[in-house]
Symmetry: C2
Subunit: 321 residues, 2 copies
């Protein structure tokens, strides 16, 4: 099959379109014909890493997929060839920058009926991250004040929508006119322009802060937190020098790592359950992925360059047809 | 009234037995005749602090009380003079090292019927801390593996009992023969001697770690945490250099500060609800305070010295009769 193969660790140029062996469909797997995949920051980090667990190039990245079931593993129930599905393939197996991907059936759900494959592929990894951060870690409640740091990004723009769907007051930060416009379009209640406003002053005291930026913004996030507040971060390499401020607030700090459920075999079926609920929300018009650009399989190196620019609105998607 | 007054910030010698004005019983207060008070580490920290919020000596410490209602504020319902009660008086008002203490009625509960005032006074602040840490922050579940760092201390010995009452497997650390004996007596499932064993190796992978020690033990606690684990700490001045390890574990870090509910007027009535539930557990024999020594009001400076020795088993109590 055709695949965009990571031939070595390094810059975008290590991604080369090649013929690659079709993945085996294990007894617990679904083999999915990929109609669309998406780009995530973790793709670029994996590519630039000095190593990636036990895995070594050549390997195929791509941790979002929307497509059609081609083959059903012998132990799998509830799926049939022809089903339109979406999922986040495991970080530990070959990914979705390819014509076919094999995925543990326990993480797969029917794709939203009202969305295209391109739109559906934009959803899984980013929304699973936002969902786990807001619902499993922070346990957001109706009426709470929730600050999303970087609301126009891949994870952030879903976080705004999930928090709104849960009945929260959503405050978000953005730094470009088009980012602010997207946040407003997604019905964020307050949009803070961090280039002209002090986010700590503007955000006030929040019940929950979801930090998708890290570094100095992590320390700012601590200052935006009210008593009993919950701070969730998805960005490694945090400065730890301000964490003692969290005592006076009786607060908590949550480290969201989306892959861990699957990687450590901790109830991977929760991913399918979340994606099924998200499909219902999407079909009800309550979740809308923002796809800012569609690439072909061949153009994935360009998509990586755009992802690394840190100026991507919503998601970059790879259309396979 | 007679009170052990903190006449200045400083060593135990600043505590002087004096005549002190009786506290006013405000409309929302209960005036309690103190039969017993208890010593907590926060008493010593307050005494040694360069300052304490807006408060200044002369002031009365003592943040645990068991006694009898002497007077009921005009707006208070559900209490009558003569009721035997226990509570943790606010850090922001005059405390219980005195014959009388005035307390917001919303934090007061009936004392356990089967326990003496001395035993009851040992309970409030420490068990509220352990309860909020384990139930509100870590949300311990039946069957989970819970590590209590320093299980023989004031907070730790209640934490062991609460986690056992919740059906957890309880692992704890201790460093002296008498500490280990107390932990075993409280039915800890595994007692790690940290002077001869490596706690990280011995504890294995825990769902919840409750760190009552801080410093290097905080970093050890991170290493004892399994995937999806929750680490709760009550010790300020934490090193922050290891927190990024919590990402790979999809873990959370909780900063328990018992006084915050009352200090910030965030549902102070939850304190009374917890203490009422604890009284039921105590009367059922499931919570047993360990009082290692009883002091008189005059002997409080000695009690502070003992508390600061860091070798106190369970609680030090002040009997007022």
């Amino acid at each position: 099959m055709r695949a965009m193969v990571m031939t070595d660790f390094g810059g975008p140029e290590v991604l080369v379109l090649q013929d690659f062996p079709e993945p085996d469909c294990g007894p617990g797997d679904l083999l999915i014909r990929v109609h669309a995949a998406a780009i995530n920051p973790v793709d670029c980090k994996t590519r630039m890493a000095p190593r990636w667990g036990d895995r070594a190039p050549p390997m195929v990245l791509g941790f979002d997929a929307s497509g059609v079931v081609e083959q059903v593993g012998s132990a799998v129930e509830g799926f049939a060839p022809g089903d339109a599905v979406y999922c986040s393939p495991s970080l530990l197996r070959e990914g979705a920058y390819a014509e076919l991907v094999a995925v543990d059936a326990r993480v797969v759900a029917r794709k939203p009926e009202t969305l295209s494959h391109v739109e559906s592929a934009a959803i899984p990894l980013a929304i699973l991250t936002a969902w786990e951060a807001l619902h499993d870690h922070a346990r957001i409640q109706t009426g709470e004040r929730v600050l999303i740091q970087a609301g126009a990004g891949g994870v952030g723009h879903f976080a705004i929508q999930l928090a709104k769907a849960a009945g929260c007051t959503v405050v978000t930060t953005a730094g470009y006119p088009e980012s602010m416009a997207l946040c407003r379009d997604l019905c964020a209640d307050e949009v803070i322009d961090y280039t002209t406003q002090d986010p700590v002053e503007a955000a006030g005291s929040c019940d929950v802060v979801f930090d998708c930026v890290g570094g100095e913004v992590f320390n700012q996030s601590i200052d935006c937190l009210g008593v009993g507040g919950r701070l969730v971060t998805i960005v490694p390499g945090l400065p730890g020098d301000q964490i003692n401020k969290l005592f006076g607030k009786n607060a908590s700090l949550h480290f969201e790592f989306m892959g861990s459920a699957v990687m450590h075999e901790r109830q991977p079926e929760t991913q399918a359950a979340i994606l099924a609920e998200v499909a219902t929300l999407a079909d009800a018009g309550k979740i809308k992925p923002h796809v800012s650009r569609i690439y072909t399989l061949e153009e994935i190196p360009d998509a990586h360059r755009q992802q690394e620019s840190q100026r991507t609105l919503g998601k970059l998607v790879v259309g396979m047809t």
